[in-house]
């Protein structure tokens, strides 16, 4: 039964094959047909007629950027959860669609609202904590 369903994955395989062929073909064609590059110390420099680069490009980033990245991830993921919730809530609020629960009850508007309320208040609390802790201060 699982094997039978594998037919529906055929388009993905086709798309993947086309993408691979196109990418490989373009690179090969550019290599074969394109003008041959000259090599030399000046030609291979990062900026041929510009300034000579100073220092390594593999420098350490300031640790503050990591905090920014973590905060971004946190509040970005939040939106991922909000979006499907909003769709379901809209269905429940506008059309009265309910989800039957295991214990015999139903997940109606109130249930969805309480669930998201708990989730969201935890996130707001997290924001408050970050603020108090000074994570938003650049200095």
């Amino acid at each position: 039964m699982l094997i039978a369903n594998i037919d529906s994955y055929a388009p993905i395989v086709v798309v993947a094959l086309i993408a691979l062929t196109m990418a490989a073909g373009m690179l090969t064609l550019a290599h074969v047909l394109g003008p041959k590059a000259r090599h030399g110390s000046v030609k291979d420099a990062p900026y041929e007629s510009g300034m000579p680069p100073i220092g390594s490009t593999h420098r350490r980033l300031n640790v503050r950027f990591y905090i920014v990245a973590v905060l971004f991830l946190l509040f970005d993921v939040e939106v991922i959860f909000l979006w499907p919730w909003a769709k379901v809530f809209h269905a429940a609020a506008a059309n009265g669609v309910t989800i039957p629960l295991e214990n015999g009850g139903v997940a109606d508007k109130g249930f969805l609202l309480i669930g998201m309320g708990i989730f969201f208040s935890l996130l707001v609390f997290g924001l408050l904590y970050e603020w108090k802790k000074g994570a938003f201060r650049w200095e």
Binding site: M1, P100, L101, N103, G104, F125, K132
Partner: protein
């Protein structure tokens, strides 16, 4: 869902709110306010405990999808919160003032994870609960002291813990593939792992899944061969946090194992049975033998914790419905033993954190020399905890070991694994004797050994209270173990699942509450029926 059902989760909500408050109070810059964090954490746990007691043993039922309250929930809530309150007492002054909020909040969140593990009714909820237990402990090790060894052990524990979580999740995916649902049990005849397991023999997929789950949880409970981290991690963390590490992840791991096995009707396939058998034998032996070779007390106790996992695995293998006689219930013995283990292990680590020698925390047996002359009462408490770990009367450790091993010996001849289990119990008894050697070295160091420089007390009153609260119950439980053991017995039959456990309920004379809620299918997957064969 109504509010009456939600109020059954009051202890969990209390822990959540208390943890958040501790974070917020700790984040305020005023250092006076940081002094409020430890009392706040303590009050939160006591409040959650009082709520648990006033709610009583919940009717075995699902409150919200994925959470199922039962007598197991009640028992684990009580044990985790009582020991959790002592953990907070022992850690009272440990963190620096600027980090106290995070520190206490992480302890509360980790305990919350234990509570949720005991009430989860879904593989996914179970997985997240175990991660909620584990992730705070990674951070706590690093926060616990300013030492490169603490950072090292935090990183080690984190990477190995992440690996074990991956193995656990992978195993759960196999079990889901075989059973077609992630629900552990349902009130009616809906799709659940319990209903699936009661129908017939397990497929190869299910056995692979169970073995992987076993491997993932073996890391949490520190069973051989996934025990290699304990020495370094327990040594690197500050003593008060090591006390937590020896108990909280172990409790969560064993509760998760009980949950999964009871969903599988304790009908463990032979491959998994022999795997646990070998694991238990190796865990007891390796733990005790390696502990014999240590001079560092923390490493010694780390390997002793491995050995105790082995004893508990014996009881797990016996299961709840084997044999005859008053002590036939292996799971009740396991639940009783782990509660006692939590107290005696934490007591010794509290003693270690209560003293310093030459300005450094106590680490080796030499550091402990002369402790009894400095503080006779704490010396006595050390002796009580050590004797209890050893399994000598008059302590609860003796009662615990008695229950664990007699559950194996009371197996009837009709049990397929009667002989292997009796051999295992004999290995366990021999190991207890080996273990006595190194626990006696601790007691000898405290009482007999002379020292040029005795340890000096550094702890405040909360730590002293913590030591007292660990050691006195060990003596009380020796005289009167019935209260705890009866609760453990009730907790060992948490399911109202159809087949075997009903038999046990009748045999032990406990009537489970009838379930009135009608079955509604939610998690039934399209290929559930197909993958059964």
């Amino acid at each position: 869902m109504n509010f009456e059902q939600l109020s059954m989760l009051a202890p969990e909500f209390t822990m959540l709110v208390g943890g958040c408050l501790a974070l917020l109070v700790g984040a305020t810059s005023a250092s006076q306010r940081a002094q409020l964090v430890s009392p706040l954490a303590f009050i939160t746990i006591v409040a959650a405990l009082l709520m648990t007691l006033s709610l009583g043993t919940p009717e075995s039922a699902q409150v919200i999808p994925g959470l199922w309250l039962s007598s197991l929930t009640f028992y684990v809530r009580c044990v985790a919160l009582v020991v959790g309150a002592i953990i907070v007492l022992v850690n009272w002054h440990q963190p620096t003032a600027s980090e106290r909020g995070e520190y206490m909040a992480l302890i509360l969140f980790s305990l919350l994870g234990v509570l949720l593990t005991a009430s989860s009714n879904d593989l996914i909820v179970l997985f997240f609960s175990i991660e909620l237990v584990s992730i705070p402990t990674y951070v706590l090790i690093g926060l616990s002291r300013e030492d490169s060894r603490a950072s090292e052990s935090a990183v080690k524990y984190f990477f190995l813990g992440a690996l074990s979580a991956a193995i656990l999740a992978y195993g759960m995916s196999f079990l889901y593939g075989a059973a077609g649902t992630t629900l552990l049990q349902t009130s009616g005849d809906g799709a659940s792992i319990a209903a699936w397991a009661s129908h017939g023999v397990m497929s190869g997929t299910a056995i692979v899944g169970l073995l992987l789950i076993l491997a993932g949880l073996a890391f949490k409970v520190a069973a051989v061969p996934l025990h290699v981290y304990v020495g370094d991690v327990y040594e690197g963390a500050a003593s008060p946090i090591t006390g937590l590490l020896g108990f909280v992840p172990k409790l969560a791991g064993f509760v998760a194992l009980i949950q999964i096995f009871s969903a599988c009707q304790w009908d463990v396939p032979d491959a998994a049975y022999w795997a646990i058998w070998a694991m238990a034998a190796a865990t007891m032996t390796v733990g005790n033998v390696v502990a014999l070779l240590q001079t560092n007390v923390k490493r010694m106790l780390a390997y002793s914790s491995v050995a105790h996992t082995g004893y508990m695995l014996v009881a797990l293998l016996v299961g709840p419905m084997a044999g005859h006689g008053p002590m036939h219930n292996g799971v009740a013995a396991l639940l009783f033993y782990i509660a006692v283990y939590g107290a005696m292990n934490l007591g010794l680590f509290a003693v270690l954190s209560a003293f310093a020698r030459r300005g450094k925390p106590i680490e080796t047996l030499d550091d402990l020399a002369g402790l009894a002359t400095v503080s006779p009462l704490i010396g006595l408490a050390t002796a009580v905890c050590s004797f209890s770990l050893m399994g000598l009367p008059p302590t609860a450790g003796f009662v615990g070991k008695l229950y664990v091993f007699s559950s194996a010996f009371s197996l009837g001849a009709e049990h397929a694994f009667q002989k292997p289990l009796i051999i295992l119990a004999v290995i366990g008894v021999v190991n207890s004797a080996i273990g006595a050697a190194y626990y006696l070295r601790i007691v000898a160091s405290v009482y007999i050994r002379e020292s040029d420089e005795s340890p000096t007390p550094v702890a405040g009153h909360p730590v002293r209270w913590g030591i007292a609260l660990c050691s006195i119950p060990l003596l009380v439980l020796f005289v009167w173990p019935v209260g705890l053991l009866d609760t453990a017995r009730q907790a060992s039959v948490p399911t109202n699942a159809p087949v075997h456990s009903v038999k046990v309920v009748e045999a032990s004379g406990i009537t489970s509450a009838p379930n009135t809620t009608p079955p509604v299918l939610l998690n039934e997957m399209p290929f559930a029926a197909a993958s059964r064969d």
